[in-house]
């Protein structure tokens, strides 16, 4: 699982349906399945990401796998050397799957295709490239909220707006691929400095959130986290200006359709890309995303590891 493009539409629906079943496990008193007993999953995180790491950890544990967390950040070896060496070391200890978060685009692809390791590799975010399980959980959340009978369904006819720093966002890239594969129309929105024209979203590009809400009338709005270093690099002038033009607030929220929802991959900058009223409103499905994250990751681990399907994917 390296890219959202690794899955064709029927497989995506299969994973989402499986995740739906898995979420039932999370409702039980004993939240555990024996499926991956004896398998070892390594969370190899070269960047801090407590949420994603915990989500994968919980998913693996609910399937009874052994989990090792390896935070490589700050290690003395240089980044590149430690990716190969660390992955090989962990595999030598018996890892069946490596969940990789790395700051360099393509690192998961490289780990899986360079012959360094034989384990299944799951991309938990590679630089500015992709974050496929995030796209799966976003799709699951959108389907749950907007489709009456979600099981077996795609997202055809749904309109999703992604707002913020598209250029540097792995979440945006994976969502553009996955939501398109599911039949949704996707538009992007943000300052022109952060919205690459070449990604050519099917729903078009908007440089103003107001215009996007009025003209595109999205069913779901995915707000991306804004990194303050983008401001320092002159991608936009100030946080105030960003918030004014591209931030989600109660006024904009009220102009969305009645059934429309707001998503955010977290962690949020409250008051910057999203205000508190929007984040805590009934339209906000941010906590559903967190719940679905565990279910989706259970489904992905199950898909890759159960029944000895441990080949690279």
């Amino acid at each position: 699982m390296l890219s959202a493009s690794d899955l064709a539409k029927p497989q995506i629906i299969e994973v989402l349906d499986l995740a739906h079943e898995m979420s039932d496990v999370n409702e039980r008193e004993i939240k555990k399945l024996p499926t991956l007993r004896g398998k070892t999953v390594v969370n190899l995180f070269f960047e801090d990401s407590t949420r994603t790491r915990i989500s994968f950890e919980l998913a693996a544990k609910r399937l009874s796998a052994d989990v090792i967390n390896f935070a490589a950040k700050g290690s003395s070896v240089s980044k590149g050397e430690s990716l190969k060496d660390t992955a090989q070391t962990l595999e030598a200890m018996g890892a069946d799957a490596i969940v990789l978060r790395h700051g360099s685009s393509g690192s998961a692809y490289r780990l899986a295709h360079s012959g360094w390791v034989q384990s299944a590799v799951i991309n938990a975010g590679d630089g500015s490239h992709e974050h496929p399980t995030q796209a799966l959980l976003d799709a699951m959340t959108i389907r749950q909220a907007l489709v009456t009978n979600p099981i077996g369904s795609d997202l055809s006819g749904k309109k999703v707006l992604i707002v913020g720093d598209i250029s540097h966002s792995r979440v945006a890239r994976s969502n553009l691929i996955l939501l398109k594969a599911l039949g949704a129309t996707v538009a992007t929105c943000g300052p022109a400095t952060l919205v690459p024209r070449s990604l050519e979203p099917s729903g078009g590009i908007f440089y103003s959130l107001d215009k996007a809400i009025d003209e595109f009338a999205p069913d779901a709005v995915l707000m991306l986290r804004i990194q303050s270093e983008r401001m320092e690099a002159s991608f936009f002038p100030t946080e105030r200006e960003y918030s004014r033009v591209w931030g989600m607030n109660s006024e904009r929220l009220s102009r969305l359709g009645d059934s429309a929802i707001v998503l955010h991959p977290g962690p949020m900058n409250r008051g910057l890309e999203i205000d508190a009223a929007s984040a805590d409103s009934p339209k906000s499905k941010i906590l559903d995303q967190v719940q679905n994250g565990v279910a989706v990751r259970m489904a992905v681990l199950f898909h890759l590891l159960a029944g000895d399907k441990g080949e690279k994917s």
């Binding site: 980044k79 590149g80 685009s105 890239r173």
Partner: protein
Amino acid sequence: MNFILENALDTKGRSVEVVIEGGLIASRKSKDIDHELVDCSGLHVLPGFVDLHTHLREPGFENSETIRTGSMSAAAGGYTAVHAMANTFPVADTAGVVEQVLRIGKQVGLVHVQPIGAVTVGLAGEQLAELGAMHDSAARVRIFSDDGNCVHDPLLMRRALEYVKGFDGIVAQHAQDPRLTKNAQMNEGAISSRLGLAGWPALAEESIIARDIMLTELTASRLHVCHVSTRRSVELIREAKSKGIQVTAEVTAHHLLLTEDLAESYDPVYKVNPPLRKADDVMALREALVDGTIDVIATDHAPHPKESKDTDWASAAFGMIGLEFAYTVAQQVLIDSGASNLERLAEVMSTAPARISGLDRQGKYLLPGSPANLTLVNLGQAWVGEAKTHSKSSNNPYQGLDFKGRVVHTIFDGEFTLKDQTIRGTNTDV
């Protein structure tokens, strides 16, 4: 040794007998001395190749390449002269370092190693290096370059261009605006957006070339543009030449053959600076090579040890090796394509770089009395690129590619450095 190369064909396709006596081309064989006869049936004789852009890595980075291994790779690629770039450690920014490089090159003796001097102290872009001292040294440095870095300060670039006029020097610019290419990883465009790799816009090269052309016109000096990689760069140089501005340009073999889509593999063997560009740029570079806008094919041979490439893309070093592949790429682009001829190939691989650098022992071809620096090639030999070459490094993007045409013999100052595709002295002293 004295040789007679029998049954070779020259660049015009005429059968020639080449007599080499005492290291020089002779107009006819002397009766009173013995000659070794070398049958060159089916081979074309060309002037020995001259590379204007080679990273030999010594001193300082001998884990990548040494002057010896780089010279071996050069001889195997048909070169009789290479220009050693200044980004060593210590940097070739003093007479002492350039003389050391020259001396080791002579000791190895496989190829003329002509040092290039740094423009600025430590390649830092702040203060002019002692250009005059390097020129006056035994190395007779004529080309100065901060290659790897751009001389981006316009005032410093102006000063350098003016200063080298005192001894007919040339500034060879690595054209890259550092601000427009911060953290850049590959050509900027749809593919870089999709791959999430920071883009290296063509404009970052073109804007520096445009500025440097104007500075060269202003100072009436001489500019050489390293590794031109975009269509617009070609247009700028074409226009400058039409105005009589003294600018010359080189294109690398890899920019004539490979394109940006190779980055989709995330294999850093394709990571190079300037980056591989679009097919349209490759077309423009090929046209410019044929019409004379681009003067020279250079290698930008840039060896790196395995650990610098056996990583994720962003952590990997920029650069690829090329000395043993430039000829076959040149043949593919100029001859096999039907776009040009062997005379033009000899010009861009030897005569023009020798002239730009002022190397009077190189690029003279079959002129009687001149040093015998010759390369013999088999236009029909089919072969497949192997990862391992004579270079110490294997960051080789040509591995596995099918080629036609290969260097068979290299003769440097009247002696075979490569004979029947075997390097002289590999068994004894390496």
